[in-house]
């Protein structure tokens, strides 16, 4: 082994330079800039109604991005999130029967179970059989799509009244006024995101949370330390499923119907947003909270494009271009810092 004597000096030059080269700080800076731009472009940005509307439109992507982040950190990747989301909406709306509030509860339980099964199947493919995650989740995405189409060949289905609590409490007829008022200020979407954050907060303090990083960073080392890497990756997939579940609740609360194709555009966006938020596609790095930031940046940029009056037709186009720029930027950043690290390592 070649011996290396180089010591790594922190960026002592100036505090400012150190701060700027810190990627997390840069991200927050970009977020603030995007936030400001949107505020300028969107009329009544600071009006309560607008804030609530924005939160609502951002929430699905935020939830999916956070879930995806967990999977990517563990060394995987999930291309099936979009169709999994669609499937869950279809399950929800197929179980519920309008006018029978109890079916809402059944729907919740059953759909959660389905979400867990989705996570387990993906986890088995990625963690146990160690099939490249890209391909295996590509395959499973079609299974979810197929089942969703079976349940809901066309968008539709039924919901119960109180289910709208996941979107806008004000829509529920019999809800107490105080609750409605509360829901107008603190939208349920925000609560869903909060639940997701709390969930991750708890998990990151357990062994699983630590092992997700370990396995994603170096699964060989993790294995040699006695960690059950297959189980850890499966758990990551299941955690992802919970986030997808929360997003499904929101969608059904909002639209009252299930749609087998609604999730398709979100898959790529979730991955891109995670990368923008600092999650390394190679695994082991990044913070789920910053994935949230990434989703926010992504969403604000989309809003900016929208308000800049770019015709609807161009939006898909821009979406794709943004993704490439975002990923390219993040990858170049990650690659250059990783390369510097590897050059000083032992072979």
């Amino acid at each position: 082994m070649s011996r290396v004597n180089k010591k790594r000096k922190p960026a002592e030059d100036s505090a400012l330079r150190g701060l700027i080269s810190n990627p997390d700080f840069s991200r927050l800076l970009i977020l603030i800039v995007m936030f400001a731009l949107t505020a300028v472009l969107q009329k009544n940005f600071f009006a309560l109604k607008s804030i609530v509307r924005n939160i609502n439109s951002f929430t699905p992507l935020i939830l999916l991005t956070m879930g995806q982040a967990v999977v990517i950190i563990s060394g995987g990747l999930d291309l099936s999130v979009g169709s999994a989301l669609s499937l869950l909406t279809c399950v929800l709306t197929s179980v519920m029967r309008e006018g029978m509030p109890i079916t809402g509860a059944y729907a919740l339980v059953l759909t959660f179970a389905v979400a867990m099964v989705i996570g387990v199947i993906n986890g088995i493919g990625i963690g146990y059989f160690r099939i490249p995650p890209v391909i295996v989740t590509f395959a499973t995405s079609f299974i979810w799509l197929g089942i969703a189409l079976f349940l809901r060949p066309t968008p539709g289905g039924e919901t119960v009244d109180w289910f709208q609590a996941f979107y806008k409490i004000g829509n529920i007829e019999n809800a107490p006024a105080s609750l409605k008022a509360f829901g107008d200020i603190v939208p349920p979407a925000l609560i869903l995101v909060l639940i997701g954050c709390v969930l991750w907060w708890a998990i990151s303090r357990t062994r699983t949370g630590r092992y997700i990083y370990a396995v994603g960073s170096n699964s060989e080392s993790a294995y040699e330390t006695g960690i059950n890497t297959a189980w850890v990756q499966m758990q990551a997939c299941m955690i992802n499923s919970v986030f997808i579940f929360l997003a499904a609740l929101f969608f059904v609360g909002q639209n009252g119907s299930g749609d087998a194709r609604m999730g398709d555009p979100l898959t790529l966006k979730a991955i891109a947003a995670a990368v923008v938020g600092g999650i390394a596609l190679t695994g082991g790095r990044g913070s789920v909270y910053f994935a949230l930031v990434g989703a926010l940046i992504f969403s604000f940029v989309s809003k900016i494009i929208f308000f800049a009056n770019i015709p609807n037709a161009y939006q898909t186009l821009f979406g794709g271009v943004i993704v490439i720029i975002a990923i390219a930027g993040s990858q170049i950043y990650t690659l250059s810092s990783r390369r510097a690290m590897e050059e000083s390592k032992l072979t």
Binding site: A139, G146, F150, A313, L317, G319, V321, Q331
Partner: protein
């Protein structure tokens, strides 16, 4: 020492392996036909077989795009082939406008589009080292966006030139013409893959990047070229698609992406690269088309088709790609 032993054991297997995957693919097809015959009458008829071959040919051609990109290694995958074909179909439809006169221009435009898209994919993946999955997926999105912009508010006009229709849609006697195309293309591909320096460089890059590099091969250029090939071929397939369908529509090509990858997997071509047995891919395509027909014949519709596809692919991935034993 123990490493040598396991290498020797593998030796016997590798030879059988080479043909084993083809044999398995063939057997699977037979199995499906038998299953079809049992459950649905007249499944195993000449007409059905020919129709299957015709539709499978399209999958096989897309599968060729995938195979080349995958063979070059580096986790290569091209998810943009579907929309590449679609965008070509949409643009050239208007150019051809039902006449033969502008066919050459259409071909020219198709080539231009294909090369441009392939070049973009290739540069981003090989030189910028971005993951091919994400790049080609984003590219597909971009192309979809461009199509949206182009067709905003209006219908897609234009019809393919009659020559194209003859090639793609019609048959000579009972034999669909497109199958002829496949039959011509296949030996050319096999020769290039296995007997020219181009093919060997491709395999080398996919099989062992370091060894190829140390032998003087410019691996990055090889991989970029693979994407250019894929894009160009996908574009030309777009011409065939519109020739077959008679009109162009927005989702023309996107339904072929998944089957094209599945065909590669079923055909036993390694997803890590270095492999390129096109016959396997063709068998894989036939298998997938037969599966589709079976699912449709059973009356399960779209839902059944996708679920079936997904499950079969998942099962095959387990069989072919599981690396449980590595530890």
């Amino acid at each position: 020492m123990s490493r040598l032993m396991s290498i020797r054991d593998n030796a016997a297997f590798t030879i059988i392996n080479r043909y084993k995957k083809l044999i398995i693919a063939f057997l699977l097809i037979l199995f499906l036909f038998v299953l079809g015959e049992i459950t649905v009458e007249t499944f195993f008829s000449l007409g059905q077989i020919l129709l299957t071959l015709k539709l499978a040919s399209f999958i096989a051609l897309f599968g060729l795009c995938q195979m080349v990109v995958i063979a070059a290694g580096g986790s290569g995958l091209d998810l943009s082939v579907g929309y590449t074909a679609t965008i070509t179909a949409v643009f050239t439809a208007a150019i051809m406008d039902g006449q033969n006169a502008n066919l050459w221009m259409a071909v020219f435009v198709a080539l231009g589009l294909g090369v441009a898209i392939g070049l973009a994919n290739g540069v981003l993946t090989a030189y910028f080292k971005l993951p091919p999955l994400v790049v080609t997926l984003a590219m597909a999105n971009i192309l979809q966006g461009v199509i949206n912009v182009y067709t905003a508010g209006k219908n897609i006009t234009g019809r393919p030139s009659p020559v194209l229709q003859i090639i793609a849609a019609k048959s000579t006697g009972i034999f669909p013409n497109i199958v002829f195309i496949l039959i011509i293309v296949t030996p050319i591909v096999m020769i290039i893959m296995y007997k020219t320096k181009l093919g060997l460089k491709l395999f080398g890059s996919g099989s062992n990047e370091t060894a190829a590099y140390l032998s003087g091969v410019n691996v990055k250029m090889v991989r970029c070229t693979a994407f250019i090939f894929s894009g160009t071929l996908a574009s030309l397939i777009g011409l065939l698609l519109i020739g077959n369908m008679g009109i162009a529509f927005k989702d023309m090509g996107s339904n072929y992406v998944m089957p094209s990858i599945a065909a590669v997997v079923v055909g036993g071509v390694s997803l890590t690269g270095g492999d390129g047995n096109y016959v396997g891919v063709i068998l894989g395509s036939i298998f997938l088309q037969t599966l589709t027909n079976l699912l449709v014949a059973l009356g399960w519709g779209d839902a059944g088709k996708w679920t079936g596809f997904g499950i079969v692919l998942f099962a095959l991935l387990i069989v072919y790609l599981s690396s449980r034993h590595r530890r």
